[in-house]
């Protein structure tokens, strides 16, 4: 009799242990999945993660910082304690840096520009000092510089220069929230006349919430109609919803200008019908902005809700009715909860898109309706202050992420469905 040891390990037909074979199959599957996702992942990293990280970095790294423009002064100022005026050594270093900058000519204006952010008006003094210092042969520089311009004899000026010479700065982030450093390096809130950013952030979020609510109120009934009507009618209505969606954003916004302007179509109709006696201002104010943005965002809210509604079987409501529920009760307790994933998806999409709106408020809104992106564009394009643009953008990003997490806690991302 041949004794055979019972082989406890399960094996496949070719003798390889089942576990190993399974692992190999799993690995192949994973590699295939990674290979499919890899292009998209690389694209998102290169086109999204990297630029945004650079932008966030710019908001604290001070792209126009004085460390590169005034190297000697930055080093010399590190030992200054902030009391009285810096030593002659610092002034000598400053004069040296200015002389070097003057020969290159360009950086003197750049130095003036950066200091001008914190001390308006100092730019021309810096440029004038640069020209005058070039004529000074040698030290002592402290008195000579103060004689050239009294601003170099003020502690506040040197506090500003010291702050702007650091590697990382909080100036832009603080300024984006309406705070500044004073001469004792303490943070204070800017006077009401100059503090605009907190209001603008609140305004941006408020307008986005209003637009989301408006699109929900308008979009839900239309989605319901689209989902429950017979196919031919609902197809026709769907084309009517999608056609504006396929038209250029700029064309739609300009169309609203034509409709809403004081001598425009809406006012004409209202006066002709007799509802109004005098023309009403419908554009270049908050109302016009909300109307235009709602029109543009409506398909974004409507389509996810419609997709979810399409998956709800009509038998559910019929079953509820047959069990004795009233019309509204059946709708509210049976139908509506099933549409919540679609509502969540649509409203989140609209809200986040509205936060970043720029062109519509710029064209149909008044000066009090400009959202944060307008100022980001202003600092990027006109003022050439990329530190501020990055700071404002970074704060908007952080605010959006915080709101998203709150939303996630309330509704849950897993519960969102797009169809």
């Amino acid at each position: 009799m041949v004794s055979t040891t019972v082989d406890r390990v399960a094996r496949t037909a070719d003798g390889v242990p089942l576990k190993v074979k399974l692992q190999q199959a799993e690995r192949k599957r994973k590699l295939r999945a990674v290979a499919l996702v890899l292009p998209l992942f690389l694209f998102i990293v290169a086109g999204f993660v990297v630029p945004i990280s650079i932008m966030l970095f710019n908001s604290v790294h001070d792209p126009e910082g004085l460390r590169t423009l005034m190297p000697k002064t930055s080093v010399a100022l590190q030992s200054w304690d902030g009391q009285d005026l810096p030593s002659e050594e610092v002034f000598a270093a400053f004069a040296e840096d200015l002389k070097v900058a003057q020969i290159a000519k360009n950086p003197v204006a750049a130095i003036g520009k950066r200091l001008n952010y914190e001390m308006p008006g100092i730019r021309s003094k810096v440029i004038a000092t640069g020209r005058a210092v070039a004529k000074l042969e040698q030290g002592p520089y402290k008195e000579a510089l103060i004689k050239i311009n009294a601003v170099w004899g003020e502690r506040a000026t040197w506090a500003v220069i010291q702050r702007s010479s650091r590697v990382f700065t909080s100036f832009y982030l603080l300024n984006a929230l309406d705070y500044r450093f004073d001469e004792n390096n303490e943070i204070f809130r800017r006077p009401a006349a100059d503090s605009i950013y907190q209001d603008i952030f609140v305004r941006t979020i408020a307008i986005s919430i209003m637009v989301t609510t408006a699109t929900l109120l308008l979009g839900f009934p239309v989605a319901y109609l689209l989902a429950t009507l017979p196919l031919r009618t609902s197809n026709l209505l769907m084309i009517m919803v999608l056609l504006p969606f396929w038209t250029s954003l700029l064309v739609r916004t300009t169309a609203w200008v034509v409709l809403l302007q004081t001598q425009g179509v809406v006012n004409d109709i209202l006066i002709w019908v007799g509802i109004l006696n005098e023309r009403v201002q419908l554009i270049f104010n908050r109302g016009g902005t909300i109307v235009a943005m709602t029109h543009i965002q409506l398909p974004f809210t409507l389509l996810p809700i419609y997709s979810v509604m399409k998956t709800i079987s009509p038998t559910h409501v019929r079953a509820a009715r047959s069990l004795g529920a009233g019309q509204f009760y059946a709708f509210w307790r049976v139908y509506f909860p099933q549409t919540i994933p679609g509502i969540a998806a649509g409203s989140l999409l609209t809200f986040i898109l509205s936060l970043g709106y720029y062109i519509t408020p710029a064209l149909v809104g008044g000066p009090k309706d400009q959202m944060i992106s307008y100022f980001v564009a202003l600092y990027t394009n006109r003022e050439l202050n990329w530190g501020m643009a990055s700071a404002l953008g970074g704060i908007l990003l952080v605010a959006t992420l915080i709101l998203y997490f709150v939303y996630n806690k309330l509704i849950g991302v897993d519960r969102m469905k797009f169809g």
Partner: protein
């Protein structure tokens, strides 16, 4: 399917041939990218400079538009990837860009032109002046037959009720506010250089703030007037002139305290076609070419030699016409180079509240 190999390879062959032909374009003729402000102004430059230059030298002009944002120029120069060869800048941007070192210093010898023949030739080392334009006040004569006659009428809500159009920037608005508040023409910049002066200007602007429609692009003021959105508006005189002449609008222009300024031809630093750019600027600054431009838009040429060549009928519409120069306000380039940023910051804050 039989369509497979044969037609695929013939398609590939055809595609490669097309690519090769396209790549072998005629040499010698280079393209020059010129950037300007769009609208009827750029149209006038097209007729007076771009098309004749292309015809005479065989080099094509590729046009682009912008609205004064010099961030692109700065980005191009900083990354070393300059694709704009010639940019039409306004004075503040030109002086700021020059100070920052992002545009070339002009070698007048290379241009072959005499600097002294140009109005404002000494103002900017990095630009060649091309036109003198001005901010003026305009209104629709059909809707407001007894229209405004002075710049202070913008602030007169009783005599002229309704909306007014102002540029969404500090420039000109602050000067006109001070002038309407009683400051003498010669003292405007002295007063504006002080904090009290700036406060005074903003206080005056507060009186009409609720009635203002703010414009940003040069093409907007004539459109606002035509739509009846505003009773009167500031704007660039050439744009109104074009609306009157080409669109047959009945606009009236008030030349009182016209805010005169220059536009400059500039070249971003480190561009690959600086020589061709010099050739173009030299061509566009010839007296005949500059005089020709006035046929299409009513901006005064900066080249003094061009003036005798201008048609007599166009002369009264130019900012430099003697009748219009009476109370002209020359916008101080040095003042605005120094204070543009802080005043615009203050202006934006005032506007947002």
């Amino acid at each position: 399917m039989r369509i497979g190999i044969l037609s695929t390879s013939s398609l590939v062959l055809a595609g490669l041939t097309a690519l090769a032909l396209g790549a072998a374009s005629p040499a010698a003729a280079e393209d020059l990218t010129v950037v300007s402000w769009g609208g009827s102004y750029q149209a006038s430059q097209r007729e007076a400079f771009f098309k004749p230059f292309a015809k005479d030298t065989g080099n094509k002009i590729l046009e682009e538009e912008y609205n004064g944002e010099i961030a692109k120029v700065r980005a191009m120069v900083e990354t070393g990837n300059v694709s704009w060869d010639v940019v039409d800048l306004d004075t503040r941007s030109a002086l700021a860009a020059c100070a920052e070192g992002i545009i070339e210093t002009i070698d007048w010898g290379k241009l072959g032109l005499d600097k002294s023949k140009f109005i404002g030739g000494d103002v900017n080392e990095c630009g060649v002046p091309n036109i003198l334009y001005s901010w003026v006040l305009a209104y629709d004569k059909d809707k407001t037959p007894n229209g405004p006659t002075s710049s202070a009428d913008i602030f007169d809500l009783q005599k002229f009720p309704g909306k007014r159009g102002l540029q969404k920037a500090a420039i000109v608005n602050l000067e006109w506010a001070l002038l309407a508040d009683g400051v003498a023409l010669a003292d405007v910049y002295k007063v504006l250089a002080t904090k009290e002066g700036v406060d005074r200007a903003f206080k005056k602007l507060d009186t009409i703030k609720g009635q203002v429609v703010w414009w940003e692009a040069g093409a907007q003021p004539p459109q606002l007037l035509a739509d009846g959105e505003v009773v009167m508006t500031t704007g660039w005189n050439g744009r109104f002139f074009n609306a009157v002449r080409d669109d047959h609008k009945n606009f009236g222009i008030v030349w009182d305290h016209q805010g005169m300024d220059w536009d400059w031809w500039t070249m971003p630093k480190g561009g690959p076609k600086v020589d061709l750019a010099y050739e173009f600027i030299s061509y566009a600054s010839q007296p005949m070419a500059m005089a020709n431009q006035t046929k299409w838009i009513s901006y005064g040429p900066a080249n003094k030699d061009a003036v005798p060549n201008i048609e007599a009928a166009t002369l009264p519409d130019l900012p430099t016409a003697p009748d219009n120069m009476g109370t002209a306000l020359l916008l101080d380039p040095q003042f605005w180079a120094d204070h543009n940023e802080e005043l615009n910051e203050r202006f934006n804050a005032w506007l947002a509240q």
